[in-house]
Symmetry: none
Subunit: 187 residues, 4 copies
């Protein structure tokens, strides 16, 4: 009877540790040793849960996405509010979303020259786009292909603000980001 370990939980602990490290000190600092130490485990244990560093990075990105996704699930009173909440989820207005963005940037940098990672990145974007498009439809803003185009425009605007906010937080306190989002939705 082996020691009881919740494998999935452990994997989450580890990808969390990796995400924290990436957000705090950059992808260069996210070595296997450092991630293991951050999670309070040994190097060797890491490889019980992830075959290699690439897999760890990919899972860290996908875990970060799942986090973002589960946040969307919060109920909002109406379709318009749900759309707003979804887009707000893409703005680095708190440490959690900020962390997600740092992971995404690190992942994008790694995805250059690595087709599998690039595909993961692209698919995540497309999934998010469908999700936003559906909410655009429900909010009665646009339908069918038009909804997708509107979703793209919304996401582009939000992502653009996010990137500026990420590297110039002084110019972009949370309230300014949210104001920009409201402006966007009003137009």
């Amino acid at each position: 009877m082996p020691r009881f370990v919740d494998v999935e939980e452990r994997r989450v602990e580890l990808t969390d540790a990796a995400a924290r490290l990436i957000a705090r000190a950059g992808i260069g600092a996210a070595t296997m040793r450092e991630v293991a130490a951050e999670a309070g485990l040994s190097t060797g244990s890491l490889t019980h849960y992830f075959a290699d560093k690439r897999e760890l990075l990919l899972c860290t990105f996908q875990a970060s996405l799942s986090g973002r996704r589960s946040q969307r699930a919060e109920r909002a009173p109406d379709a318009a509010s749900q759309l707003r909440a979804t887009l707000e989820g893409a703005l680095p207005v708190d440490d959690d979303r900020r962390r997600h963005w740092m992971v995404t940037v690190a992942f994008c940098a790694q995805a250059a020259g690595d087709d599998e990672l690039a595909d993961a990145q692209r698919d995540a974007y497309r999934e998010f786009r469908s999700h936003v498009a559906r909410q655009v439809e429900r909010a009665g803003i646009a339908d069918g292909d038009r909804a997708v185009v509107v979703a793209e425009r919304f996401i582009a605007a939000v992502d653009g603000v996010a990137i500026q906010a990420l590297f110039d937080p002084e110019s972009w306190p949370a309230e300014r980001q949210l104001a920009a989002l409201d402006d966007l939705l009003r137009a």
Copy 2:
């Protein structure tokens, strides 16, 4: 018998080589050895021109920015066209601009946890924002602080499209990117 070498020209050759490598195979492939080889030089030579790898990366980013900046200089008949040309310069519609974006993404990933790089990134953004704001004013779209806000919105929209185009080029051929830009300016 000192051989004549144009130091500045050599630095450009080297940062170009680094940019090509980053765009082609990711920042992980941009080792000192590989950059030197790509430029047709020896490893040791690199250190005559750049104190260390961080400096090379910083200079590569700044050289990439300069390239983008010099492209803006192209005359355009009127202020509105100049604005359009400037924003178009931020879209990955050809290999050159695509390369610039890959360098920027790589740089952002490295800037996490490195204050000096983060500052460089932020300053570059601010400089670009002032530039666009000036053109917004000249085009008679808005004035003063309003012009800066409009510039931010334009840049955000364009950057957002750029990021999507970077990792999903199938969905974003050059003409679609330019159409999105035209939509943006029309509104």
Copy 3:
């Protein structure tokens, strides 16, 4: 409620697994994990049967020797035939003997710089030599010390052929090896 397990049988299963692995993929592939997996057990189980890897290797070698020895036991009509059968046992003419040779070679490589293993190797040779010498005497070929010298010569010739056959099986099909053995015994 102690589960019934035939310890000796399990050890044989494990050394068999190790031998198969060594023959198939080299000693480098014969890690504890791989041996356990090949035997259909877990890593931890291995240590119930062998204190450490060295012991596993030593036992694998000795089990391989026992196998060779038990084959000698096959009855042969007369002393000369018995001698022939014994020497034939040292030729890699089938998968089984081939496997034994691979294990022996791996063991020899490991025995360099490990006195205990080297002693085991030497003792195995001496034991084989006495055995052959006894059959040389019984076959009336030579007596006493002369029988030992003849045995040595026979073994040397057979081992030399075996090594060539091991790495150049095209040049040494089974029948050629047996023909060489017959030539040897005729002389």
Copy 4:
């Protein structure tokens, strides 16, 4: 003007270091670090001269072969003496030949499950066989295909003695090995 280094000489120094280590402490002790230390260099330097460990091992084996080969070149008064000298070269009668044999055994163990190494091993054997066959012809012992068969028998006998001598040096002092060789040639 780079520092002057004789690359070939350095490679020989390194393969010599590897051979010494393998003979002294077994292939397990011949790690990159240990080989570099034995040669008085750093780990990193080793990879200037050998792409990886496999290449180092292959070159060590081939350098060991070349050593054996160059020893054959010693002139001997007549064809029979030359043959004897060649076969004597395959007996571990001194530290040098002993070292060559240890390298060969280590290499054989590694060649299991590595086709390229196995081919190198086979080719080395075939080359040696042709060489001996030529001397058998010159010594007037046999001709054509018969010479090859005789060569094989000679090599097998010598190799067999060598293996016994390697792991039971007490039973096989140099003079006994040479006596066995003389017996072989007399017959």
